[in-house]
C-alpha cells in the first residue's frame, strides 16, 4: 500500500519500513527548517522535509504540504540520536546477567513497561533509537538489539534489529571483585574459543551439507545401477540365500556403503550464534578497558578476517590507536565525568579519549556506558566536544556512525529520502546543550513537543 502510494506520487523510495510497527500510517508531516543537517558535515539551508507513512519521502525547497498534513517550522533539523551502548528498557537482572550465553537475546530481557518513564525521558532528550545489551556479567553476553525508544511501542514492536550484535565483556570485575591479569586475559581465550567453535560449527555444517549431497548422489547412482541389473541382482541374492540355507547359516543381506548416511551435526544454538559472529554476519562488541586485555583481544582476533569487532569502553584504547585504526575497529566511548566511586576498569578514564581516538583516525561512537541513562547522550557528546572532539565526529558518533555500525544505517541515522522519519527539530545546534529540542519525531509521529 505504501509502495503504491509512493509510486502514485512519483517518488523513488527504497523498499523500507514495510514492517515497521508504530509508523505513522496514513499521516503526513511537513517540516520546514532553516538548516537541515542531512548527516554530520552535510547541511542544506531553508529546506522542507515531507514525511509520509513514517518515512521521509522528499526533501526540497518550498515543498507544498499535502492535504491534512501537519506543518512544523523550526531552526535546525537533524536525525534522532542513536545510543550505541545502552541498557535502557532492559530488566535490571537481564542487564547484569552473568549466566548469559551466545544465544541469549537481549530483546528477551526487555521490559518496556516498567521503564516507560525512562524511555520517555530519553525520547524527550532526542534519543529515538538505541542498542540494548544484556548479559553484562558474562564473558559472552549474547545478542544485543537495536530498539526504538518510543515508549508507546510495546515489546518486539520496538525492535529495529533483533540480532544487532554479539556482546562480550573482558576483564570486568566479576561478582564485585576485580580479577587478576591472568583471569582477565584468560577471558579473551574463552571468547576466542567460542568464536573458534562457532567457526568450526559452521564448517561442519557446510561439510555436512556437502556430504549429504554426495551421499544422495551416490544413492541415486546405486539405485539406477540396481534397477539396471535388477534381474541379475535378484538371482544373485536368491542364490546366496539358498547357499546359506544349505549350510544352515543365517542369510545376511549385502551391505552397501551408501547405507551409511552422513550424520547431521548436533544443533547447538550457542555455536550457531558464534558462527554468525565468526562469519561477520553480526558484529562483535567487546566491552574491555585495559591495555593488556585489548592487546590480547586484538592479537587473537586478527586471523579471523570476517570478524567485525567493536570495542566498548576502551579506557586505555588510545595505546592501541594505530592498530584499531588500521583494522577499522570502532570504539564506543562513554564520556562520563566520574566521581571517585567508579569501577577499577575506569581508573585511567579521560574525557578526552573520544577526541584522542578520533584524531588518531579511529572511528568513535558515543554511548551511555551500558546504563539506563541514555537521556544524557547529548550531554555526553557535548562533553566529548568540550574535551576536544570535533563536533561533526561527535554528532556522527550518536547518529549515523552508530546506525551504520549496527547495520541499520539504511533506515535511521540521517535525514535522507527513504529513511525512517526519526527527526529532531531544535532551536540551534544539536550539540549546543542550551538549544532546546522542540519536536521529536519517531517514525513520522510527533512524539515530543515543547
Amino acid at each position: 500500500m505504501l509502495g503504491v502510494a509512493l509510486a502514485a506520487s512519483g517518488l523513488v523510495l527504497a523498499p523500507l519500513s514495510f514492517n515497521n510497527p508504530g509508523f505513522a500510517e496514513g499521516e503526513s508531516l511537513l517540516i520546514r527548517a532553516e538548516r537541515v543537517i542531512v548527516r554530520p558535515g552535510v547541511e542544506l539551508e531553508n529546506q522542507s522535509i515531507l514525511v509520509q507513512d513514517g518515512v521521509i519521502v522528499a526533501i526540497g525547497e518550498g515543498l507544498a504540504p499535502p492535504d491534512g498534513a501537519r506543518e512544523i517550522n523550526g531552526a535546525v533539523v537533524c536525525a534522532g540520536f542513536v545510543d550505541p551502548w545502552s541498557a535502557l528498557g532492559l530488566d535490571a537482572g537481564a542487564a547484569r546477567d552473568s549466566s548469559a550465553s551466545a544465544a541469549t537475546r537481549s530483546a528477551d530481557g526487555v521490559d518496556r513497561w516498567s521503564h516507560a518513564h525512562h524511555l520517555e525521558d530519553a525520547l524527550r532528550a532526542g534519543v529515538t533509537s538505541l542498542r540494548v545489551q544484556g548479559g553484562g556479567g558474562a564473558v559472552i553476553s549474547g545478542y544485543g538489539s537495536m530498539m526504538r525508544v518510543d515508549p508507546s511501542l510495546g515489546g518486539d514492536d520496538a525492535l529495529l534489529l533483533d540480532a544487532a550484535n554479539m556482546g562480550a565483556t573482558i576483564g570486568l570485575p566479576r561478582g564485585g571483585r576485580t580479577r587478576d591479569i591472568f583471569d582477565r586475559v584468560s577471558e579473551v581465550d574463552r571468547l576466542i574459543g567460542q568464536i573458534e567453535s562457532g567457526r568450526k560449527y559452521r564448517e561442519s555444517a557446510v561439510e555436512y551439507k556437502y556430504e549429504l549431497e554426495e551421499w544422495q548422489k551416490e544413492i541415486e547412482e546405486k539405485e539406477k545401477e540396481l534397477e539396471k541389473d535388477f534381474k541379475k541382482a535378484k538371482k544373485d541374492r536368491e542364490k546366496d540365500k539358498e547357499k546359506a540355507e544349505e549350510k544352515g547359516k543365517e542369510f545376511k543381506e549385502k551391505k552397501y556403503k551408501e547405507d551409511k548416511k552422513p550424520r547431521k551435526p548436533k544443533y547447538d544454538e550457542d555455536s550457531e550464534a558464534m558462527a554468525r559472529v565468526a562469519d561477520g554476519e553480526v558484529p562483535l562488541v567487546v566491552q574491555s578497558h585495559r591495555y593488556e586485555e585489548l592487546r590480547s583481544l586484538l592479537e587473537k582476533t586478527e586471523s579471523y578476517d570476517r570478524l567485525r569487532v567493536l570495542v566498548a569502553g576502551g579506557t586505555e584504547a588510545l595505546l592501541h590507536a594505530d592498530e584499531l585504526q588500521a583494522r577499522g575497529v570502532p570504539v564506543i566511548v562513554w564520556p562520563n565525568p566520574m566521581g571517585p566511586a567508579r569501577g577499577d576498569e575506569y581508573d585511567g578514564h579521560e574525557l578526552s579519549l573520544a577526541a584522542s581516538l578520533d584524531e588518531a583516525g579511529v572511528e568513535v561512537l558515543i554511548g551511555s556506558g551500558g546504563s539506563d541513562t541514555s537521556r544524557e547522550l547529548r550531554f555526553l557528546a557535548a562533553l566529548a566536544v568540550s574535551h576536544g572532539l570535533d563536533p561533526d565526529a561527535a554528532l556522527n558518533a550518536i547518529t549515523l556512525g552508530a546506525a551504520n555500525a549496527f547495520d541499520v544505517g539504511d533506515r535511521i541515522g540521517s535525514v535522507e529520502r527513504g529513511k525512517d522519519a526519526d527527526l529532531l527539530v531544535l532551536d540551534g545546534d544539536p550539540l549546543d546543550t542550551t538549544a532546546r529540542i522542540r519536536f521529536v519525531v519517531s517514525q513520522g509521529r510527533v512524539v515530543v513537543e515543547h
Binding site: D372, A381, L383, V385, D429, D432, T433
Partner: protein, 432 residues
C-alpha cells in the same frame, strides 16, 4: 610552576591564534602584592608556598588587557566586545570601549570571557583529613589546615575553569569545623574561616558512630553479641540519635562560644549539611530559631522545600549531579530559582571529575533553569554563598583577576576552556 610570566602569553597567543598587539613581554613580570584581606599571620598552606627569605617588593605593575567578543560580568549582565584590564593580579578596569594602552600587551579572544567558576563546597585535596570520628563536636577545627595546594584535585579543577573552591568537613561531625575558600592554583587561601559547618545529615552521623564503633570495639562487641545494639557500645561517641544530635546543637547555641558565637552574631555563616527534605526542614528551622545565615548543602531535593529555605533566608549548595541523576533534583533547581533562593554547586568528593560542576548547571538549564541564573550559581552566587563575593565571582574593578576564556557560551556544555587565569596569571591553556 607557581607563577606564569607574561611571556607565556606569547606562547598562548601563538598556540590559540590570539594576537598580542603590543608590549615587551619580558618587561612585564607580574607578581601578586600582599593580600590586604588576609590577616598578617600566614596560614599553614601559605607557608608551604612561601620561601623562607622575605619576598622582595613587587616590581612595577604588569598590565594585561584582554579583549573578548563577549564578556559575562557574573552579575547576570553581558557585554559584547568587552575589555578587561588586569593590573597586579587584580581587575583594574572592565567594560566596553575601555581605552587600550597600546604600550601594554593585548590579548584578543574570539569567544567568551568570564570570571573563574566557584565550587561552593568540596572535599577536594584534603586527603581524607576532613573529619574526626572520635568526637562529634569540633567547631574550632580549621579545614584550611588540611589544604594541600599541589593535590591533583586542584589542577583538574583549573582545567575545568574552576578557580575558587570551598573546602569543607564531611557531615560526620555534628560541628565539623570551619570551612575555607582556596584558589585552585597558586596555593592561596582566600578566606580561612568561611563557614561553621554543622551536620543535620542523619546518614553521615550514623556512619561516624558506626566507624568509631568498629574501630575501637569491633572485637569485643562481636564477642559479646552487641555489635548492632549501638548505645554504649559505640565507643563513647555521643550523641547516638538524630534528635540527640539536634539537641546537642541547640545546647551549643544556647550559650554560644567560639565559632558558635560567631555564627550566632552573624559574623560567621553556617554551612548546614542536610540531605533528606526533612533534614533540610530541620536545618532551616534551626537556622531560623538561632538567627543564623548561610546555606544548606547536599539537599538533592532542595527545590521541593524551596519555601522553607526562602523563609529561613538560607541558600542551597547542591550537586554535583552525575550523569543519570534523578531528574527531580534538576527540576527542583528551577523552583529554587523561582523562589529566589540563591544556589550554587558543590564539587563533591576528592577525585570527582570537576566537569560535573558545569555539567550540573548545563543539565539544570536543560531542565528549564534560566541560563543566567545557572551561570550566576557558578560565579557570583557561588562567591556570595562562599562569603568571598568581594574578591571573586564577578568581573569588576578591584576583583581578583581570576578569568576563564571560553570558546563560546559556558552554559553550553560543548564549549571549551581555552585559558584560565588566576590572580592575573595564566595557569591553564596555550603552551602552559
Amino acid at each position: 610552576m607557581r607563577r606564569t610570566h607574561l611571556f607565556s602569553l606569547v606562547a598562548l597567543a601563538t598556540a590559540s591564534g590570539v594576537v598580542i598587539a603590543a608590549g615587551d613581554p619580558m618587561a612585564s613580570e607580574a607578581t601578586l602584592p600582599p593580600d590586604p584581606l588576609l590577616p598578617p599571620t600566614a596560614s599553614p598552606a601559605r607557608d608551604v608556598e612561601t620561601p623562607p627569605e622575605p619576598e622582595p617588593e613587587p616590581p612595577a605593575a604588569g598590565i594585561l588587557q584582554i579583549r573578548a567578543a563577549e564578556v559575562y560580568l557574573g552579575d547576570g549582565n553581558r557585554i559584547e566586545d568587552g575589555v578587561v584590564v588586569i593590573e597586579n593580579g587584580r581587575i583594574r578596569n572592565v567594560g566596553r570601549g575601555v581605552e587600550i594602552d597600546s604600550s601594554q600587551p593585548v590579548l584578543e579572544h574570539d569567544g567568551v570571557l568570564t570570571a573563574g567558576m566557584v565550587a561552593c563546597h568540596s572535599w577536594a585535596g584534603t586527603r581524607g583529613e576532613n573529619h574526626d570520628s572520635t568526637r562529634s563536636m569540633l567547631p574550632e577545627a580549621r579545614i584550611a589546615y588540611t589544604f594541600h595546594p599541589e593535590h591533583s584535585d586542584f589542577a583538574n579543577a583549573v582545567k575545568a575553569g574552576i578557580t575558587s573552591i570551598v573546602l569543607a568537613p564531611t557531615g560526620q561531625n555534628l560541628a565539623g569545623g570551619k570551612t575555607c575558600v582556596v584558589k585552585t592554583a597558586g596555593g592561596e587561601v582566600v578566606k580561612k574561616e568561611a563557614h561553621l559547618a554543622l551536620s543535620f545529615s542523619g546518614e553521615a552521623l550514623r556512619q561516624a558512630v558506626q566507624q568509631f564503633f568498629f574501630f575501637f570495639n569491633a572485637e569485643t562487641a562481636v564477642d559479646d553479641g552487641l555489635e548492632n545494639t549501638g548505645g554504649p557500645q559505640n565507643g563513647g561517641r555521643y550523641p547516638t540519635s538524630y534528635s540527640g544530635s539536634v539537641a546537642a546543637l541547640d545546647a551549643a547555641m544556647a550559650d554560644p562560644q567560639g565559632a558558635f558565637a560567631a555564627a550566632a552574631n552573624g559574623t560567621l555563616p553556617v554551612l548546614l549539611e542536610a540531605w533528606d527534605r526533612h533534614e533540610v526542614a530541620r536545618a532551616a528551622a534551626f537556622a531560623k530559631k538561632h538567627g543564623l545565615r548561610g546555606a544548606v548543602r547536599g539537599a538533592p531535593l532542595a527545590g521541593e522545600v524551596a519555601g522553607v529555605l526562602k523563609d529561613a533566608g538560607l541558600g542551597a549548595i547542591v550537586g554535583p549531579f552525575a550523569v543519570g541523576h534523578a531528574r527531580r533534583s534538576l527540576d527542583g533547581l528551577a523552583d529554587l530559582s523561582e523562589a529566589g533562593v540563591p544556589f550554587a554547586f558543590s564539587l563533591g568528593a576528592s577525585g570527582t571529575d570537576p566537569s560535573q560542576v558545569r555539567m550540573s548547571a548545563a543539565m539544570a538549564v536543560g531542565a528549564g533553569v534560566d541560563p543566567v541564573a545557572a551561570w550566576k550559581a557558578l560565579s557570583s552566587d557561588g562567591a556570595r554563598l562562599a562569603g568571598v563575593e568581594d574578591r571573586v565571582g564577578r568581573l569588576e574593578r578591584g576583583m581578583d583577576a581570576d578569568l576563564v576564556l571560553w570558546s563560546g557560551d559556558p552554559m553550553n556544555l560543548a564549549t571549551r576552556v581555552k585559558a584560565v587565569f588566576i590572580g592575573g596569571e595564566l595557569v591553564h591553556g596555550g603552551m602552559q
